[in-house]
Every structure is written in C-alpha cells, then in structure tokens.
C-alpha cells in the first residue's frame, strides 16, 4: 500500500518522463561509467549483490556452454564412457545420421513447411492487423481476444482437437496438415506483433496519398508496403524460428516422410526398443542448431527484431 501512495504523489513525472525516453535524446552524462553513483555510494563491483548476480550468470553459462560443447564433442566421438573425452574422434556419425534418417528429405520438408507458414501467415495476418490498427468496428475487442487465444493457450490444448479433425478429414500425416497446424499460432502471432507496428505509422501519410488521388491498391503497394517491410521481416523471422522449433503441433499430425527435423530427432531419442546410438542423435541435434544459427545470422544481417518496438523513436523525428 505504501508503494502505491508514493506513486500517486508523483503522478506528473511518470508520463512526462516516459515520453522523453521515447525521443532520441542524447545520452545524459550521468549514464556514463562511474558517474552514475553519488560519492558516498559503494562502487558497483564491490557490492555483494553484484557478485551474486555474476555467480548466477556464471552458473547459467556453465550449463549452457557445457550442454553445447558436450553435444558437439559427443557427435564427433567414437565411444565416450566415463572419461573426460571420447576414446577417439570421427566425423562418420554425420554421414550415418544423414543416410539413416534421410536428412536431406527431412530438412527439405522443414524448410518447405517453415517458408509456407511464414508467407501464408504474413499474407493472412498483415491485412487483418491493418484493419485492427486503423478501424473501430463492432465486436473489435472480441475479435482481438480471439486472435490472442491461440498464442496463450498451450499448443497441446488446441493441437489435439485440431489433429483429430485433420485425421477425420483425411489429411493426417501430410505436409499440408503440418503447414495448417503451424499456421494456428503463427497468424495470430503476426497479427499481435504487426498491429502495434502499424498503429505507430502516421495515418496522415495514407490520407495524404488518398487525397492526392491514389487508389486503395496504390496506397498499399506504394505507400504502406515499403513502410511495413521492416516490421514484416521482423515478424517473419520470429515466425520462422518458432515454426522450425515447433515440436508439439508438428508431432501430432506428421508421419513418416512429413516430419520436420525436431520431430525426427525426438523420435530417434525415444524410439521403442532402445533408442538410437547417442552420437547419432547428437549429430542431428547439432545439425538442427547449426541450421537455426545460420538462419538467425543471415536474418539478423537484414533485420533487427527490436525494430518492432524501437521504430517508435525513428518515426517520430
């Protein structure tokens, strides 16, 4: 209760300060190192809480790097029992995994599914988010809530009824089914991220174009399109990463020949009658991570996902 009172006593400062922070003001001098604390304050590196924070980070990084490095070493190892390192190294697990699980096909399926989902969810989602951003219409709140639901409820919850319907229709275990189920969280995701992005584009620009005689089609292709590109790319990358990593939904409807890489690895790890040799799984897991990393690096060269939020500052000036 006391915290609330403190807030109410300074109601003016908050919104004013918030607006300020959105503008590209030059960095205040006090942000610089060392200048941040008053003379009596202890130095940052001396506080015990700082050490605690760094210990937490260190423990996290030990696990993270330990996991990554041990998988990589395992995927190149001959036999690894209870020593520090495997008895020998060999690249043959990759070849074996490639042949055994037809990884060329699996990766092709993964890419086809991921790119179809990205293209379809942008095509369906962006027009809808334009309407949500610019228009007031009856039941708007209900429609918005409906689009929010697939993102917040667990994939299994809508995945199982959806998979049942898909098997009933006869689409089970097809690539189309995999694409359809992955659209369910992706389209709402595009709508949720793109609506605020479109809201912060000044409507005066569209109105000016319309006043000057541009037709709806031209307004979209020539005026809005170029301005939406950064937002669309950022949303597309997030959808791409989510779809490649999506396990539950793909697992429910995919079958032999239509599995994505994650599902193939999961099946290899849990296959009945003793799972596959461990290094084989490690090799595939590493292929998955390498694929993800390459995609992210290529993607980040072209777009900055923070553009979804950070553009506010850019468009203001």
């Amino acid at each position: 209760m006391t915290t609330q009172d403190t807030n109410r006593s300074t109601p003016q400062e908050v919104p004013v300060g918030a607006e300020d922070s959105a503008l590209p003001v030059p960095e205040p001098p006090s942000r610089q190192r060392g200048d941040d604390r008053i003379p009596g304050d202890k130095s940052l590196s001396a506080q015990p809480s700082t050490w605690l924070a760094w210990a937490g980070i260190a423990a996290f990084l030990v696990f993270l790097l330990g996991i990554l490095i041990s998988v990589v070493i395992d995927s190149f190892g001959r036999a690894w029992y209870d020593d520090w390192l495997p008895t020998g190294f060999t690249p043959s697990w990759y070849g074996q995994a490639w042949a055994r699980f037809e990884l060329t096909h699996v990766i092709a399926v993964t890419l086809v599914v991921a790119f179809s989902v990205v293209v379809l969810s942008v095509l369906i989602g962006v027009p809808a988010s334009y309407v949500l951003a610019r228009h007031q219409f009856p039941f708007k709140k209900a429609v918005t809530a409906l689009f929010l639901l697939p993102v917040i409820i667990p994939p299994i919850t809508f995945g199982i009824p959806l998979a049942t319907v898909i098997y009933n229709v006869g689409l089970g275990r097809t690539v189309l089914a995999v694409i359809l189920v992955n659209l369910v969280p992706s389209v709402p995701f595009v709508i949720i991220t793109m609506t605020p992005f479109i809201e912060q584009i000044n409507p005066a620009i569209e109105n000016a174009a319309r006043m000057s005689g541009a037709r709806m089609r031209h307004v979209f292709l020539r005026i809005l399109g170029p301005m939406l590109v950064p937002g669309i790319l950022a949303a597309a990358i997030l959808v791409l990463v989510r779809t490649v990593g999506m396990f539950e939904l793909t697992y429910l409807v995919s079958g032999p020949g239509t599995e994505t890489l994650v599902v193939t690895i999961f099946r290899a790890m849990t296959s009945a009658g003793g799972s596959e040799p461990r290094p084989l799984v490690s090799a595939m897991a590493f292929v998955y991570t390498a694929m993800m990393l390459v995609t992210l690096i290529i993607a980040l060269r072209f777009v900055n996902p923070t553009q979804l939020v950070a553009r506010v500052g850019d468009t203001d000036d």
């Binding site: 922070s21 610019r134 049942t164 319907v165 189920v181 790890m269 991570t289 993800m292």
Partner: protein
C-alpha cells in the same frame, strides 16, 4: 462461419445504408479481415468446438468404468488419481520455473542495465538457447549433467561430492531445461521493461536521500510490476505446456507426468480421442485460471506508462 463472414461484407442496397454502416465502422476495408477470420474459425474455433463436443461423447469403455453418461470423461479426469495428479505435477514444474526465471532476472537486469565491457557478448550468449531448441538442450543435459557427465566428474574430482548428483530423468532435469530455455526470454523481456523506466526518477529519489532498498521497493518495483506480471505469464505459459523435455530429460511416467504427456498418451497411444480432448481442454482451462489470477492481481498494480513498452 457464414454468419461471421457476412459481417465483413459491404452491404448492397442504397447508399444511405452503406453510409449508416460506415458510421459504425463497417466498410469495404473490413474485407481485409475476412481471410484471418475464416482462418481462425476453420482452424481454431471449429476444432475447439468439435473437441469440446468429443469430450461429451466418451467411449463405451470409459462410461462402463466411470459412469456418468456423457460426463464420463470428466468424471474420469477428476476421479482417476493417475490423471488428475498430473494437474499438480504440471503446476509443480511450471510455477517454480516461471517464478525462478522472473525473480532471478530482476537483479540481473538491474545490474546489467549499466554499460560494461562484454555486454554484447553476454546478450549474444543469452540469445543462444533460442537456437538450441528443446531437443539439443535435452540431449546436452543428458550428456553434460548425467551420472558420468562433466558436471558430476568435475564435482567428484574436486572433492565436493562423493556420489554423482541425479540431475536427469527426474523433476530437476525438466526444471533445468525449463530454466535454460525460459530464463533468457524472461531476462530480455524484463530488461526491456526496465529500460522503459525513466532513470531520472531513481536519481531524484537518490538526491532526496533514499537508500538502495527504498529506491527499489518504492520506485523500481512498482513501475516494473506490470511488466513482471506479463513476463511471468509468458514464461508460465511456456513452462506449463512442457512436453518434449518432460519426456526426454524427465520421468514421464512418474514425477514429470505433466498434462501434455497424459493428453498425448490418450491421443497417440490409446487412440481415445474423446479422453485426449478432455485432458487437453482441462489443461488449457487450468492454465487460463493461473493467467487470470495473475492478470487480476495485475489490475491492482500501478496503471501508468512505464515508457511505452508496457
């Protein structure tokens, strides 16, 4: 479906009707919503309604054992200890994981607000788990934290332990994998909420003589609280639907028999679709109850701008 689609269609007839509709916000541009509406009705609302219908059509086997006519599936869900217990098992994993991710992120985000050497590297390392994916994390945990893994070897060789720690194929394994995948997410979100708080408030309090604890509890925390609630909800949703890691690094028939695993078993192993839908829908309901409680609590918190990112 048709009833919804016509709402977006521009009305034919006299211009005055069109004007009247346009006044209420119904015009040709609403047509752009049609694909999205059709999509969500066909792939989300209809399957959900169908699944709900299925829950009221239990298999004969279920009715025989549990009785209750069309409500047999629900009787089974609440009556069968093996099934109902997994609500508790899921909550026992998801709530501590989400709380831990949020609570640990707060001091770290505050400490790492300032510029320091290697900040870029640290942020990159924190984004890394996104590319690892659940399967590599699971595989890595099995190798690294297993009985003969580096972690146990190091701890035993250093003389800290005599017997290896049991970190995988149990509750701890799943919790670890939830932290590894959820913590970076929570940290990045909280950092962005924190950067939206005006630093001059903190400086003003400092100049008035407020100590570290006072500034944190009276300025930072109240302003950050709505963001914390959102972060908690998002990490909780991720943790609540845990499925692959519960199977791979957990003990899927014992301590980590989460709802997703139970629902999948009915679906993929016993082919009891009505019961699978029942478990799936109850799982969604249980999650939404927790989310609603957090949102309700959040509505009492400070409702102002925290920099536009709230």
């Amino acid at each position: 479906m048709t009833a919804q689609a016509t709402r977006g269609r521009p009305s034919r007839g006299s211009a005055s009707l069109r004007h009247r509709l346009a006044d209420r916000g119904i015009d040709a541009q609403l047509l752009m919503m049609v694909p999205a509406i059709v999509f969500i009705l066909a792939l989300f609302v209809y399957p959900f309604a169908y699944g709900f219908g299925l829950t009221l059509q239990p298999t004969e086997e279920t009715v025989e054992r549990w009785g209750g006519g069309i409500f047999a599936n629900y009787l089974r869900f609440f009556g069968d200890a093996f099934t109902f217990e997994s609500v508790w098992l899921t909550a026992r994993l998801a709530i501590p994981a989400a709380l831990l991710n949020v609570l640990v992120s707060i001091p770290l985000a505050i400490k790492l607000q300032h510029r320091f050497r290697g900040k870029r590297l640290l942020s990159t390392l924190l984004v890394l788990p996104i590319t690892l994916g659940t399967v590599l994390t699971a595989q890595g945990l099995l190798i690294f934290a297993g009985r003969q893994g580096w972690l146990n070897q190091a701890l035993i060789n250093l003389g800290i332990l005599d017997t290896p720690l049991e970190l995988v194929h149990n509750y701890i394994g799943v919790l670890l994998s939830l932290i590894i995948s959820g913590f970076p997410f929570a940290f990045l979100l909280i950092s962005s909420y924190l950067s939206g708080i005006d630093p001059s408030l903190d400086r003003a309090a400092r100049s008035l003589g407020a100590g570290w604890a006072q500034r944190f509890t009276k300025i930072t925390l109240p302003l950050l609280a709505p963001g914390l609630a959102t972060t908690f909800i998002l990490t909780f949703v991720l943790a609540f639907s845990v499925f692959p890691s519960a199977t791979l690094v957990g003990d899927p028939s014992g301590s980590t028999r989460v709802l997703a695993v139970v629902a999948y078993r009915f679906f993929g192993e016993q082919f009891d679709y009505p019961m699978a839908s029942t478990v799936a829908i109850m799982m969604g309901l249980a999650e939404l109850i927790v989310v609603a409680i957090v949102l309700f609590a959040r509505s009492f918190l400070y409702k102002g701008s925290t920099g536009g990112k709230g």
